[in-house]
């Protein structure tokens, strides 16, 4: 049969953001898949070279819309490394709260988001509610729902009070109380079982070859999580597990995310009870207009919802970064993964790949 070329872009309900894949299909089978990034390209890395060290904090959250905080964190961590700037203990705990809340929000979007390509539309509606409840927390702590611009070199911008701590606790209790519903409506659903099990498989070799990390890599049996391997902030003081699986398909990966949400809740609970008192920010010398970072280079990395995410920063000692390179966690699965992994799968499974592997389009484009 004749091959057909298809544009699988943002108009598709299973597509995550402004991203597209050019597919060549033979019937329903994908013959060739070519990721077509660029719709979100804004040249962040270059833009950062023209902005003050502080001003960049307002720019970089945009590198990943659903999980902006990792950008602020790795940027700050790299800057702190070069500048040898200490971060107050309390700020470290606050950063963990933000990062884990963000992980829950992203994972819930992904779990609910599976409704798009599978037709289980109840799920995305519910999941967006969970995400919104987390955004309420963000709004309370940082003053904004999506782009928080909260984590800055030296700590965080604002402290939180008992009322906010209590609000966080109530919200995660609330979300936790509904996790059972997702378990039932998604993970026990015969439709999901049929559509996800065995779909979009990934081997350990592929994962390692392409540089996949995060739930993708862990679903192939490799226990790699930056939080455990290279503990940052206060992760080494916290008790949590890294769920892994042996055989990777869409179902496994999605379920791993579900288990990770539970671990994140466990982490946040510990943080809420252990968070020490004290200051939340050590400042750089002078006014933010004049900040300079010592000459040097450093890599700051965290475990994002999609895997290892990092910024490599080079400073020549001036008021602007000399060069910043972003390691987008979804690069391997979003570029190589699509091209090498999708041929052979069915057309309707393309979005399932994107959802369960975790592809954040602005991060690929940046």
């Amino acid at each position: 049969m004749k091959e057909v070329k298809l544009f699988h872009g943002p108009n598709h309900p299973g597509m995550h953001g402004n991203f597209s894949v050019h597919l060549t299909v033979d019937g329903d089978t994908v013959k060739k898949a070519k990721p077509n990034p660029g719709m979100l390209h804004r040249g962040f890395e270059k833009l950062m070279e023209r902005r003050l060290w502080m001003s960049n904090i307002a720019l970089i959250p945009r590198v990943c819309v659903p999980e902006p905080d990792i950008n602020e964190t790795v940027y700050s961590m790299a800057v702190e490394k070069i500048e040898e700037l200490e971060v107050p203990e309390r700020a470290k705990y606050l950063r963990v709260i933000i990062l884990e809340l963000a992980r829950i929000a992203v994972h819930m979007m992904s779990i609910g988001g599976i409704g798009g390509p599978t037709g289980v539309y109840t799920a995305p509606n519910w999941a967006l509610n969970e995400r919104d409840m987390i955004l309420d927390i963000f709004e309370k702590i940082t003053g904004h729902r999506i782009y928080h611009m909260y984590i800055v070199p030296g700590g965080v911008r604002q402290d939180i009070n008992e009322e906010i701590l209590e609000f966080i606790e109530n919200t995660i209790n609330d979300i936790e109380s509904r996790l059972k519903d997702y378990y039932e409506i998604i993970f026990e659903s015969p439709i999901i079982h049929k559509r996800l099990k065995g779909t979009a498989p990934l081997t350990k070799e592929q994962a390692l070859d392409w540089g996949v990390t995060g739930p993708g890599l862990r679903s192939t049996g490799v226990k790699y999580d930056v939080r455990k391997k290279f503990p940052y902030l206060v992760y080494d003081k916290l008790d949590f597990d890294i769920p892994i699986a042996e055989e990777s398909d869409a179902y496994t990966r999605l379920y791993l995310k579900y288990l990770e949400v539970k671990q994140s809740i466990k982490i946040i609970r510990q943080v809420l009870s252990d968070i020490p008192k004290g200051k939340v920010r050590n400042k750089l010398m002078g006014t933010a207009l004049k900040w300079k970072i010592k000459e040097g280079e450093a890599y700051g990395k965290v475990e994002s919802s999609r895997g290892e995410f990092g910024y490599y920063i080079v400073s020549t000692g001036g008021r602007y970064p000399y060069r910043i390179q972003v390691r987008g966690a979804s690069y391997p699965q979003g570029l190589y993964g699509i091209e090498a992994g999708l041929p052979g799968t069915r057309l309707e499974d393309v979005s399932i790949w994107l959802d369960t592997m975790g592809v954040c389009s602005p991060e690929v484009d940046r």
Partner: protein, 605 residues
């Protein structure tokens, strides 16, 4: 990993949500109030805002522009601009709020705005907010979010115990680390530049410290001020009074940073910068009378344009009041020498020991030169006329201070000081006298007994805060709100000063006319009285016909402010005899006059 089993009935469990309350809100019918810290549309208190533009500088999206406010004449320390925000660009980071130097800029909880006209998205925040009457208390700056550094780096001084009998400079100057920390606090707004009489490019030279480029720092200095070593020590630093940072914190130590640059720029680099400024363009010869700041500054700038410049100075040393008035512990000779050295190095001739009117006639200067610039200053003491003030142990400030400087330069005898002294006056000069007397008393008697009496109330004392504080440390006593009535003399010897309570400084018409309450008097015991109530000019070098043609306003000469000319087009004037009251005004006068003289000579060719 145990995975969930498929369960045919599982999806039906969602049915329970049908009877639960919806979680969504029906916007816009239903309003949702934002959280307390919400970063919504801006508000700006125009009374507080000074138009410094710092908000625009930090803005990551270039959303803030500073626009001139029509028909607004901004007072000193403020610009006539206000921020305009383009909501097509603004990313609501709130950094502008964090850095706002006055705290006028805030954010509201307001976050919905709709209009067909895109131009309305350009918004000049005021107190009302974008959608008027919307809850205004949104995001505000706090200590953690603050993007300014409010604390000044403390200057190191010689302790009062050590400096009490010493005329060595006691301000130690910043170290490199300290200077950089202090420089890092400046937001480069330039409000200080507007205030500085010489309009020195302060943010630019402060920047050179931050960027480790002192050579450029020296270049910036000489653009507007050829006496940086002097001004870096004793400038009245009015710039600091308006420094933007002072609205929420301590002003930048502008004067000490200036001193840091000139003290630390390598000598060869310094020399290269200054010498390279000279051009050969100007043709003509200029006579300058008086080598005080105004004369020196005019000479420097005229010479850089290429003119032949001759300064006539009656004293043995150039510098005017800086050399003979200001005490050495504040301004060492080395600093004056260094500034004057470079002025001479570029080819300015200083004829010392040449009093115009005595050693050379004014008319001779007029013949020899195309233009004459007079800057003879207020060097004469002003005496007080009260009972007993003609006693020989009543000494005027400008009779005493030059003698102290001469003594310190190891040339003359120590001036007479009594064991118990009263100084009349509460200004900086009175403190110069008092603190000099205290040092001499320490040398001679090993103890201090100096009392200052001032007309002004304690909170209105004209002396600078530093002087008052340091004077106190050195043992000076101050009696505010007391006016001199009589110097009590018994058997030809001064016994003390009688003062009465001063209840008003100005009369109903606003003229200076102190009112004393003679029922409330006090006697300050002393055997010597110093008078520091101002200085006066001496125009005896000017021929009568010239004096007649000149216009005066009080003791000062009137000039055309634009052309710096007196009523005679070839005669220019500046410094204390025109404006005053300090060195930097003299420097500015000299510079402006140099430009005006250049214009005059060129247009007469």
């Amino acid at each position: 990993m145990d995975k969930p089993k498929s369960n045919f009935f599982a999806p039906f469990k969602g049915i329970k949500y049908m009877i639960q309350k919806p979680v969504t809100i029906r916007v816009p019918e239903e309003e949702r109030e934002a959280q307390k810290r919400y970063r919504g549309f801006h508000t700006n208190d125009w009374e507080e805002c000074i138009g410094c533009g710092t908000c625009a500088d930090i803005c990551p999206t270039d959303a803030i522009n500073m626009e001139k406010v029509p028909d607004y004449d901004a007072p000193e320390g403020e610009k006539d601009e206000r921020p305009v925000i383009d909501y097509g660009r603004c990313c609501f980071c709130g950094f502008c709020v964090d850095i706002c130097t006055t705290g006028s800029l805030k954010m509201s909880k307001d976050y919905i705005y709709m209009d067909e006209d895109a131009d309305t998205f350009l918004y000049i925040p005021d107190e009302e907010g974008l959608n008027k009457n919307y809850p205004k208390e949104g995001y505000e700056r706090n200590e953690d979010t603050d993007l300014l550094d409010l604390e000044r780096i403390a200057m190191r001084y010689t302790k009062s115990k050590k400096r009490k009998d010493s005329f060595l400079e006691y301000v130690k100057g910043f170290s490199k680390e300290e200077a950089k920390r202090e420089a890092a606090r400046c937001v480069e707004c330039g409000i200080c530049t507007d205030r500085c009489p010489a309009h020195m490019d302060i943010p630019e030279y402060i920047n050179t410290i931050w960027d480790d480029n002192l050579e450029e720092g020296v270049e910036w200095m000489y653009e507007t001020n050829p006496l940086p070593n002097i001004c870096g020590r004793v400038c009245t630093h009015k710039c600091e009074d308006v420094c933007t940072i002072s609205h929420r914190g301590e002003p930048i130590a502008i004067r000490w940073l200036k001193r840091y640059i000139v003290d630390n720029a390598p000598e060869d680099v310094y020399e290269e910068v200054v010498l390279s400024n000279v051009s050969k363009e100007g043709e003509g010869s200029i006579a300058i009378i008086g080598a005080g700041p105004a004369g020196l500054s005019a000479a420097y700038y005229l010479r850089t344009i290429g003119y032949d410049v001759d300064i006539y100075e009656k004293e043995e040393l150039a510098g005017g009041v800086m050399r003979y008035g200001i005490p050495r512990y504040r301004l060492p000779d080395e600093a004056i020498d260094k500034d004057i050295l470079f002025i001479e190095k570029i080819g300015v001739n200083i004829h010392r020991n040449t009093k115009v009117g005595k050693d050379i006639k004014f008319s001779k200067l007029r013949e020899k030169h195309d233009v004459v610039f007079i800057s003879t200053g207020f060097m004469e003491p002003r005496h007080l006329k009260i009972k007993g003030s003609d006693h020989p142990d009543v000494v005027a400030a400008m009779d005493f201070l030059p003698k102290v400087r001469d003594f310190v330069r190891d040339k003359k005898q120590m001036p007479e000081v009594a064991e118990k002294v009263v100084v009349i006056g509460g200004g900086d000069v009175a403190y110069d006298v008092g603190r000099s007397v205290a040092r001499l008393q320490n040398i001679k008697y090993g103890k201090v007994d100096v009392t200052l009496t001032a007309l002004e109330k304690k909170e209105d004392l004209p002396a600078g805060e530093d002087e008052i504080q340091e004077g106190k440390e050195e043992g000076l006593e101050i009696y505010p709100a007391s006016g001199p009535v009589e110097i009590i003399i018994e058997n030809d010897e001064i016994k003390g000063l009688k003062t009465a309570e001063c209840i008003a400084l100005f009369d109903d018409k606003g003229n200076f006319n102190p009112k004393l309450n003679k029922d409330n008097t006090e006697i300050h015991e002393a055997s010597q009285v110093f008078i520091s109530i101002g200085q006066a000019p001496n125009y005896d070098y000017l021929p009568d016909n010239i004096k007649e043609e000149l216009e005066f306003k009080g003791p000062q000469i009137k000039i055309n402010e634009k052309t710096h000319q007196t009523s005679m087009d070839w005669l220019f004037a500046g410094g204390d005899i025109v404006n005053g009251p300090d060195i930097i005004n003299g420097v500015a006068d000299g510079h402006n006059a140099a430009k005006a003289i250049d214009d005059y000579i060129r247009s007469n060719k």
